[in-house]
């Protein structure tokens, strides 16, 4: 071997012991803890504490302005024999069920329509979103006016313009009229959310799948049931869950239009809880009503959990 006269200078990055802080921030458990801290804190302060307080109140006889004592299940026992409470449970379930079915039927139909090549597509989409953008209370007042016994435009059209009826309809004066009227208002308000979410879902479906199905001989109904429906199912489940949760816990529309009347026939659990708790002063009982919503909500969430469980064909699912 010949000895080279050239000296080879090598330079290495000097090894510096990392500082304590650097080491700390390199440790994964520490990082996880520090990143989670704000979220956990916020959850504790703004979610867990009010929830815990609400649940605690449900087991006390607290009144507005007076502290209460722990009374065990007394509030729930009295609710068990309370016909108004059971009426509210019935109407909440009925309201949620009927409104959800209608919202999804009409919303899906609208989404399918908007997914076609229509003229003024973006304008139509904007218009469809309107009911959702308007503050609930505002639309509630509008509906209240539309449902007014004397000034209702609906009655006016039916009686004076079309002459289909003899008398004005008392929309909010009789229980079943009031119940259906509120459902109609909720559906009107809820459709945009459903329609736009489902439209977003529809737009993720590649048009070439429809073309392939067309060549495979699928009719338009078969293209809907075999391609659109299954591919829309994941997003449909999410939207359905949210819609059910929002409808079940609805408060504003009902409280603004009927306040639960006539004769408590349109109370939702949320409005009844508020009615008993704040104006009625029975904080404990109001809290107990609110707490009784929890099992229903858990049920709805469970449904979403299983419905949302990734389907095998979806990207990112478990490979078996």
């Amino acid at each position: 071997m010949s000895v080279s006269t050239e000296r080879h200078v090598t330079w290495r990055r000097p090894e510096v012991a990392p500082s304590l802080l650097a080491r700390l921030f390199d440790s994964k458990p520490f990082l996880i803890a520090i990143c989670l801290l704000p979220a956990v804190g916020l959850l504790l302060v703004f979610l867990t504490y009010p929830l815990g307080l609400g649940i605690w109140l449900a087991f006390t006889d607290t009144h507005v302005g007076r502290g209460g004592y722990f009374v065990g299940f007394e509030n729930f026992e009295s609710l068990w024999y309370d016909r108004v409470f059971w009426g509210a449970v019935f109407y909440t379930v009925f309201y949620t069920g009927v409104a959800t079915v209608l919202k999804f039927g009409l919303g899906l139909w609208l989404a399918l329509l908007l997914n076609e090549n229509l003229p003024f597509k973006s304008l139509l989409r904007a218009i469809i979103l309107l009911p959702w953008i308007v503050p609930t209370v505002l639309s509630a007042i509008a509906f209240w006016w539309m449902y007014d016994a004397q000034f209702s435009i609906i009655s006016y059209v039916l009686v004076d313009v079309l002459g289909w009826r003899e008398t004005y309809i008392d929309f909010l004066g009789t229980p079943w009229h009031a119940r259906w009227s509120l459902i109609a208002a909720n559906v009107w308000r809820g459709i945009p959310f459903v329609a736009i979410s489902l439209l977003a879902g529809l737009q993720t479906i590649s048009p070439s799948l429809y073309e392939a199905a067309l060549l495979d001989g699928a009719s338009s109904w078969q293209r809907f049931t075999r391609i659109t429906a299954p591919l829309l199912m994941p997003i449909l489940a999410v939207v359905l869950t949210f819609s059910v949760l929002f409808t079940f816990t609805d408060f504003q529309l009902v409280y603004a239009i009927t306040r639960g009347g006539p004769i408590n026939s349109t109370h939702l659990m949320a409005t009844l809880a508020f009615q008993r708790g704040i104006p009625g002063g029975q904080l404990g009982e109001g809290a107990a009503i609110a707490v009784s919503m929890i099992p229903f909500l858990i049920l709805a969430t469970m449904f979403s959990y299983f419905a949302l469980a990734r389907r095998k064909w979806q990207q990112g699912g478990d490979d078996e």
């Binding site: 590649s206 070439s208 799948l209 073309e211 199905a213 060549l215 495979d216 078969q222 591919l231 990207q315």
Partner: protein, 367 residues
């Protein structure tokens, strides 16, 4: 199986005309490749044959039946899409069985057809997988399987290999060709890759800007391109095309054609004379484009001096870009070349394999 007859077909999207009268006759069992640059209307034509686009004017018939107003499912064709368009929520088996299920075929028939297609394409082990669990090449095969199970009269392929890597592309290319030889189903295949066209086609339809430029067997297009476009499009590396004029029975490349008045002796081109192909001589002084393929350039000691600008040995041949007679030309040589960049070699195109095109219309003039 059926022949396909495309007669003066036009297509416009709104005001924009995309196809300006395309006519192609495809014989029963033939493998025809539509090739052309991006945006020339190949996919549009294919989709019109499939029935996915309506026909603005003209007539398409399949197996003697005019299909202008026949819905896609009744045209008895099957199509393989560029992105495969596999149904993501169905297993490979269900993807392939879908059309038969819709047609309410008996379960045994479906099973038999699916396993026949799976056997042909080697998909047996994958039947219960979902598309997302397959590789690109496997998805491509499933898309073909979906076409095969239908026993169509015509297969339509829209750039089926463009999503595959180079090696797989060569393999699947061979598979498709082999499949065609086995099934002998009339096939129309769209690609913008001229190598794919050359290797697979019985006949090639070269399109540009909504027109058919030439229809012919691969070697026919290679040997006798009808115009400058086809000459430049078919063959790789591309044909050398030198604009210039004829003078004293030879071709003179003008560095700037048109600057020299008609009839005057050409000034440019360093006086280099390119040998003319045999056959019909055009008039003296006529403006022409002279074409020769890189692989038809020979090393000749008394040839045209060419200064090497770039040498690319590929192993089997050596590709050279050189400056000759004021023009940049490329050559591909079987022999190894010792010369380096900047040195001069002497080359001459084989006159019997050279081409002449009219300088104005771009149409072929030499025999």
């Amino acid at each position: 199986m059926a022949n396909v007859h495309i007669d003066n077909v036009r297509k416009s999207f709104g005001q924009t005309a995309i196809l300006h009268g395309v006519s192609v006759d495809i014989a029963d069992g033939e493998f025809v490749v539509l090739v052309g640059p991006s945006g020339c209307g190949k996919s549009t034509l294919l989709r019109m044959i499939a029935g996915l686009e309506n026909i603005t004017a003209g007539e398409i018939s399949i197996g003697g039946r005019v299909v202008n107003n026949v819905p896609p499912k009744d045209r008895d064709i099957a199509m393989v899409f560029q992105n495969y368009a596999l149904y993501p929520h169905m297993t490979v088996r269900d993807n392939m069985a879908f059309s038969m299920k819709l047609a309410k075929a008996p379960a045994e028939v479906i099973e038999a057809e699916v396993s026949r297609a799976a056997r042909i394409l080697g998909l047996g082990a994958l039947l219960d997988r979902y598309p997302r669990q397959l590789s690109g090449g496997q998805r491509q095969r499933v898309a073909m399987g979906r076409a095969i199970v239908r026993n169509p009269q015509v297969f339509l392929f829209d750039e089926p290999l463009s999503n595959l890597d180079a090696k797989l592309r060569v393999q699947v290319r061979a598979e498709i060709k082999e499949l065609h030889q086995r099934l002998r189903t009339t096939t129309i295949y769209v690609t913008h890759d001229q190598i794919e066209a050359m290797t697979m086609a019985d006949r090639i339809v070269v399109m540009q800007g909504g027109h058919v430029e030439q229809i012919g067997a691969p070697l026919e297009l290679y040997d006798r391109p009808a115009n400058i476009f086809v000459a430049g499009f078919i063959g790789s590396p591309a044909m050398n095309l030198l604009p210039g004029r004829l003078h004293n029975g030879a071709f003179h490349a003008d560095p700037d054609t048109g600057a020299v008045p008609e009839g005057a002796a050409p000034a440019g081109g360093d006086g280099v004379l390119w040998p003319l192909p045999p056959g019909g001589r055009p008039a003296e002084g006529q403006k022409v484009t002279y074409g020769f393929r890189p692989e038809h350039l020979r090393l000749v000691s008394d040839g045209i001096p060419a200064t090497i600008q770039l040498i690319e040995p590929t192993g089997s041949e050596t590709q050279v870009v050189a400056q000759a007679g004021g023009r940049v030309i490329s050559g591909a040589f079987r022999e190894r070349i010792a010369a380096k960049v900047g040195e001069t070699i002497h080359v001459l195109p084989d006159p019997s394999l050279a081409h002449l095109f009219d300088g104005g219309s771009g149409q072929r003039i030499s025999a």
